[in-house]
Amino acid sequence: MTGMNPQRKSDLLSDHVKHEIEDWLRRYPENQRQSALLGALRAVQHEHGYLSTELMDAVAEYIGVPEIAVYEVASFYSMFELEPVGRHTIAICTNISCMLRGSDRIVDHLERKLGIRLGESTPDGKFYLKREEECLAACCGAPMMQVDHVYHEHLTPEKVDEILDGLE
């Protein structure tokens, strides 16, 4: 409990993230600051890779909402990671169109290639095989996957290898 000048929790946020949160805050009425929460969490995750409790507390303080309200939102949406994950997030769509076009084979291939199951990260911290809950809305290019923020369509195991090899 001792120590000088206790730091504010929101000091954890970078200037860039604060700038982005401000940008979101501007779009909503002053008494609806919680509306900026999704945008804020996305910005934080983009920078840190996942949302630690400390980072969520920082966002809560910055926006001015109870911490639990941030935990609720962050734990509700599958796009937010609450544990550390690999650098590159690979999300394979397994919804109906992709499934009919062989997404199971792609999942199988990736799991074998990376030696991990869906929902796990490679031990070297490079890849994270995300369990995608929803249709990623690229049915015409099925089967597809999203690697970080890029969509890759018409996948074959060979194409998947090529994409992964091209990542740092």
Binding site: M1, M4, P66, I68
Partner: protein, 791 residues
């Protein structure tokens, strides 16, 4: 028919209901039972449990009664085949993941889920698949969790946000994985947290201190009044075989609504403390010898007769019942003893003569939520009177403003419009500045007694702003709290506050600290007034003077001087010198045993009948619920018999009601409550302090004997760590940066305490909480202290 009412029909019964009311409210008012889990009359509408589905004519599907507003000509059917099918279906879904472990569940027998399942569900579940299991969060010492039983009604979540003012619990995850909890491991911090136990309709949240100790059907319910703050919350005590097993709230809209504080809910656990006094004892050298009551009372009477009246001091706890307080002063005055007081934590008694009949709130409790502007002076209302803080929070949510002038930033669960955090001297300067600002606007001369004080105060822009906030409002109120009562210059503080109230048109009131402070004044347990507030012929010594000028004998009634008195060091000195200390007490701890010569066991809270008068002046009587252990007897009976043994007239009461009525008969029927204080002489500012000033507030769970003996309170979030707290820059100035342990010197008193850096403490102050084991050797609030590095 008024325009605000509509006609509806429920199950063929014609009713009128308020426009905008929900069907469930209209049904409740008419006594028509609709099952529900998430709906609660004091919480917002969630409509997520779907248990209250009813059929509404012309609606294609069953509608939730809690979220369907009434409309003219509406026909509702709560028991039609369609409604019953909807309710049955909902019940089946709710039970899918419920473990049905009623035989081992503490809620069994008083469970809403159990009752509704019996009334509206199927006999046998069709669900045979696996059920989900949810890990249980640790919410602290008050609330036991078994979250697998949770049905996600979110009452506890809404309670936190809407009533407690601290949103600590939430629903994280989604779908099948939703769980109610805090997400991170934490002890819930709200001082009203125990209310979620009552709100929880299943056995997910149960009371930890009483868990697995009794079944609801074994308990006998007794109406009672909570003793730990001046609100006088209405409670039910649940007993089994004469032992209090738990406490729950009793509805009283004008006092505590449907809530009680954690302190009032769990303090009963202290009744079983190890140091409960079971039989009368006298000290025989270093040994304690048991006596029977006859011998003990005779010895006590003889001892009291042995001393000249002026050599005797009587200290009575402000948590004693009205009857005990009345008989104590009657006994004292019968013996010619004028030295009697209950104001144990007060330091300055100079304006006693100007004091009102009793410290009155200045309005009704319910009116607090209608205030437009409130100024708190020396008040940690959230911890001192949690349910009054709840009312103020409602006022703030309605658009009212609350301001505070405090010796520490206590932390509030509503935003403060302005707050001045300053040392006790600064509190005087602030109120003085505000009064000057008010006089400037009103173009009025200063009240003559305050001219000297105001000469040393200047009005700053902030003071003028605060005054403006009070002046501009229709319902404004200035309240003096316990830190004002304990202020070293209470007289000046009170005179300034009273004058400020007069100038701004605000009402003026008090927040006394103890459960029966108001009753103690009415009963005449003060050295300058007999019962009903009439002046005495010869004034006795007040609580502080009785210890500053040690007496030869003391009668202590429900008092542990080192924890309850303003200046423990002084109390220790005075009692060590005394020849005879007689204590009427439910508990005899180590320190009391060191000081006392005769110990008489009396019944504690919940074990005696009596009356508490709350800060509105509301007389609330109660009967004994539990049985006093051993040979302990109700305090009023012990005092009455003592009166008989001393041959004093007027001690023939056979019931506590008779004692109460005797006092009531002395009060005139048309009492006018008026808090205005006009000082009797010219006042002057004290010299500005040099060095560090001790701020000594009493923490939430240290206020009286019973609270100090509750094991669960020690681990509660509101428990205060005994330490010397200073802010970072003050630590720097004192050369204590990085120091972890300090030596505290207050006059001749010393203690060694951890040093804690705390930004809530103002400059030039050190906050050392009072009423704690580790600080009980120190002195009074507002005095100078020195801190030194320990070597």
């Amino acid at each position: 028919m008024s325009q605000d009412l509509v006609n509806i029909e429920i199950n063929g019964v014609t009713l009128t209901a308020r426009k905008g009311a929900m069907v469930i409210e209209a049904a409740d008012a008419a006594g028509i039972r609709i099952p529900r889990f998430c709906y609660h009359k004091k919480l917002s509408i969630a409509a997520n449990c779907r248990m209250c589905l009813v059929e509404v004519e012309k609606a294609p599907k069953a509608l939730p009664a809690c979220a369907t507003p009434v409309s003219e000509g509406m026909k509702v059917f709560t028991r039609s085949p369609k409604a019953l099918a909807a309710q049955k279906g909902t019940m089946e879904f709710l039970l899918i993941n419920h473990p049905l472990d009623c035989p081992i569940c503490d809620q069994g027998g008083e469970c809403e889920l159990q009752d509704v399942a019996m009334g509206y569900g199927n006999d046998v579940s069709r669900y045979v698949e696996a059920k989900r299991v949810v890990p249980d969060p640790d919410l602290g010492p008050f609330i036991a969790t078994e979250m697998t039983r949770c049905i996600h009604c979110t009452r506890c979540v809404r309670f936190g946000e809407e009533i407690a003012g601290l949103r600590e619990m939430g629903a994280t995850g989604r779908g099948e994985n939703v769980r109610i909890g805090t997400y991170v491991e934490k002890t819930v911090a709200s001082e009203l947290s125990g209310n979620v136990i009552d709100l929880c309709p299943v056995g997910a949240l149960t009371a930890r201190p009483s868990r697995y100790t009794a079944r609801p059907w074994e308990l006998i319910q007794h109406a009672g009044i909570a003793p730990h703050d001046c609100v006088g919350s209405n409670i039910y005590l649940h007993t089994r075989n004469g032992r209090v097993m738990r406490v729950v709230p009793r509805d009283n809209e004008s006092v505590n609504e449907t809530w009680i504080s954690d302190r009032d809910r769990f303090s009963y656990a202290g009744l079983d403390a190890d140091d409960r006094l079971l039989r009368p004892q006298v000290r025989d050298g270093e040994q304690w010898q048991d006596l029977d009551w006859d011998q003990a009372l005779t010895r006590t009477a003889e001892a009291l007769k042995r001393y000249a009246p002026d050599d005797i001091g009587v200290l009575v706890s402000p948590t004693a019942t009205l009857e005990e307080l009345y008989l104590a002063q009657k006994l004292a005055r019968g013996l010619g003893v004028a030295n009697i007081d209950h104001r144990l934590r007060q330091n300055d008694f100079e304006d006693d003569a100007a004091a009102p009949l009793f410290p009155w709130l200045g309005c009704a409790i319910e009116d607090l939520e209608r205030q437009d502007a409130v100024l708190l002076v020396g008040s940690d209302i959230r911890r001192e009177q949690p349910l009054l803080a709840h009312r103020l929070r409602k006022a703030v949510l309605r658009g009212g403003v609350v301001m505070a002038v405090n010796p520490r930033d206590f932390g509030f669960h509503f935003p403060l419009a302005e707050q001045v955090v300053t040392d006790p001297y600064g509190m005087l300067k602030t109120l003085g500045g505000m009064l000057r600002a008010a006089l400037d606007v009103e173009v009025k001369p200063a009240p003559s007694a305050l001219i000297g004080v105001l000469a040393d105060c200047e009005s700053q822009p902030l003071h003028a702003e605060m005054v403006e906030r009070l002046r501009a409002r229709e319902h404004a109120l200035i309240l003096l709290g316990p830190s004002a009562f304990a202020h070293p210059q209470f007289t000046i503080l009170r005179a300034l506050a009273s004058a400020l109230a007069q100038m701004t048109g605000a009402a003026f009131g008090y927040l006394p600290e103890a459960g029966n402070s108001a009753g103690a004044w009415l009963a005449g347990a003060v050295p300058h007034r007999v019962p009903a507030g009439r002046a005495v012929e010869r004034r006795g010594l007040d609580a502080r003077a009785m210890l500053a000028q040690p007496r030869k004998a003391y009668l202590l009634i429900g008092v542990e001087p080192v924890f309850d008195c303003a200046d423990p060091a002084q109390a220790i000195r005075a009692l060590a010198q005394a020849e005879c200390v007689i204590a009427l007490t439910p508990f005899a701890g180590e320190t009391l045993r060191e000081q006392a010569h005769v110990l008489l066991p009396v019944a504690a809270f919940a074990e005696t009948s009596g009356t508490f008068v709350n800060l509105e002046g509301r007389w609330q009587g109660f009967k004994g619920a539990g049985r006093a252990p051993g040979e302990a007897r109700p305090g009023w009976k012990v005092l009455r018999v003592l009166g008989n043994l001393l041959d004093l007239p007027g001690f023939e009461h056979v019931s506590s009601e008779q004692v109460r009525d005797e006092l009531k008969g002395q009060l005139s029927d048309d009492i006018r409550f008026d808090n205005a204080v006009v000082p009797k002489r010219d006042l002057h500012m004290p010299p500005a302090p040099s060095g560090l000033t001790r701020v000594a507030t009493v923490p939430m769970y240290a206020g009286d004997m019973l609270q100090r003996r509750v094991p669960a309170f020690e681990a509660a979030a509101g428990a205060v760590y005994a330490a010397a707290y200073v802010n970072a820059s003050e630590a720097e100035r004192q050369g204590l940066a990085g120091c972890e342990q300090v030596f505290v010197r207050q006059g001749e008193a010393t203690a060694e305490l951890p040093l804690v850096i705390d930004p809530s403490v103002p400059d030039a102050c050190v906050w050392i909480p009072a009423g704690l084991e580790q600080t009980r050797t120190l002195g009074a609030n507002g005095a100078t202290v020195e801190l030194q590095k320990t070597v």
